[in-house]
């Protein structure tokens, strides 16, 4: 279930997600948060099994904090995506898979990045992407509206309308949209 969207622009990244948690054919919750900040400059949007995804986010937060404290500088977005992927991959290979599909997005010293992690541990880097049951519908909007030079604010509007379109036709998505914008300068606001 769920629809999540991530868009990369030259000025930052945007994450958007709906707020519905489904229990089969029942709307289990109408106010679920599906976007989580790993820190000031990196965030993930989750789809799939809520418990798996939330645990994975907590685990990734802990591992990132440890590594940052130990080595003295934060992880790049790519490192964060690879970290999550190796946890998920190890889960799959030990017959305890995480039933999740994540969008890892953020800004680092190289700029803005959007990565996706699926439950097999595969990582891809995209200009824009969507996951969850509503993603085919969201992709229709994204493919129409995305441009290479899109402004961050336009990307925010595009992400929101993509999720809204999916909510109209996908029964697994609905009850409003959460949007998170991470502009490039957020990275400088960090320790480094």
């Amino acid at each position: 279930m769920t629809t999540t969207v991530g868009i990369r622009t030259k000025d930052g990244v945007v994450l958007a997600a709906d707020k519905r948690a489904s229990k089969g054919f029942f709307v289990g919750s109408k106010v679920v948060q599906k976007i989580f900040a790993l820190d000031d400059a990196t965030a993930v949007a989750i789809a799939g099994q809520m418990s798996d995804a939330e645990y994975l986010v907590s685990l990734a937060k802990a591992e990132r904090r440890l590594l940052t404290l130990r080595r003295g500088f934060p992880l790049s977005v790519r490192e964060s995506a690879r970290l999550i992927s190796s946890i998920v991959y190890n889960g799959m290979k030990s017959y305890n898979p995480f039933f999740v599909e994540l969008v890892v997005a953020g800004v680092d010293r190289e700029g803005a990045h959007v990565y996706t992690n699926d439950m097999s541990g595969a990582v891809t880097s995209e200009d824009f992407m969507s996951s969850g049951s509503g993603s085919p519908i969201a992709y229709g909007v994204l493919e129409q509206g995305y441009r290479q030079e899109i402004a961050l604010d336009d990307a925010r509007k595009l992400a929101e309308s993509a999720v809204r379109a999916a909510m109209e036709r996908d029964p697994g998505s609905g009850n409003g949209v959460d949007v998170l914008v991470v502009p490039n300068h957020r990275f400088n606001a960090e320790v480094n």
């Binding site: 590594l67 130990r70 080595r71 003295g72 500088f73 992880l75 790049s76 790519r78 490192e79 690879r82 970290l83 190796s86």
Partner: protein, 222 residues
Amino acid sequence: MAAEMQRMPFFYNPEGRLVQVDYALQAVSRGSTTLGLKAKDFALLSSQVRPTRALLEPAEKVFVVDEHVGATGSGYIGDVNTLVDEVRVAAQRHRLVYETRIDVGTLSRVLSQHLHSFTLYAVRPFGASVILAGLDELGLQLVQVDPSGTPFRGSGFAIGQNADEALEVVRQGYRPDMTLDEALALTTRAIEGANGGSSQIEHGVVRRETGKFERLALAAAS
């Protein structure tokens, strides 16, 4: 009391020292003279290759840990080799999880923890000190780790035989803006001075501009 101490030489002695660690440091100070030096644009490792005899190939003394980090050591060469392998594995494990180069601080911590674990139990601590040189997000790094597991960061280190004399030569000739050729001449002079004559020396350098650690060709004793 004294008899008890005899039976447990791996515990603190009455002065509060770990004598096994002291002996390990002693073993290092019998090793070949080995230097680490960090300047503005590079970090250099230089190690004396012990005089060999005819028909014997000189031992490798400077090691590539990963493309951006190198190591050298002094003491029992078998111990040095084992420790170098430990950090090489750590570097590759990091690449496996994060797909990035490991930072030198994390590598030195791996080394420290490994060495420290051998000071806790009734085992022989490693008779080797290791110097790491590398380039990471925080810049050029030079770290020395001794058999107790203590890491030292700095711009100049000397371990092995007559290390104090060698370090004094380096200290007097050191400038942060020195060129690689000047640094090579300085560490060569320091090692040869400490050993009273010409020596075969192996060098390795990591340059800020390339970010790569490379071993330099072994120069024959002049």
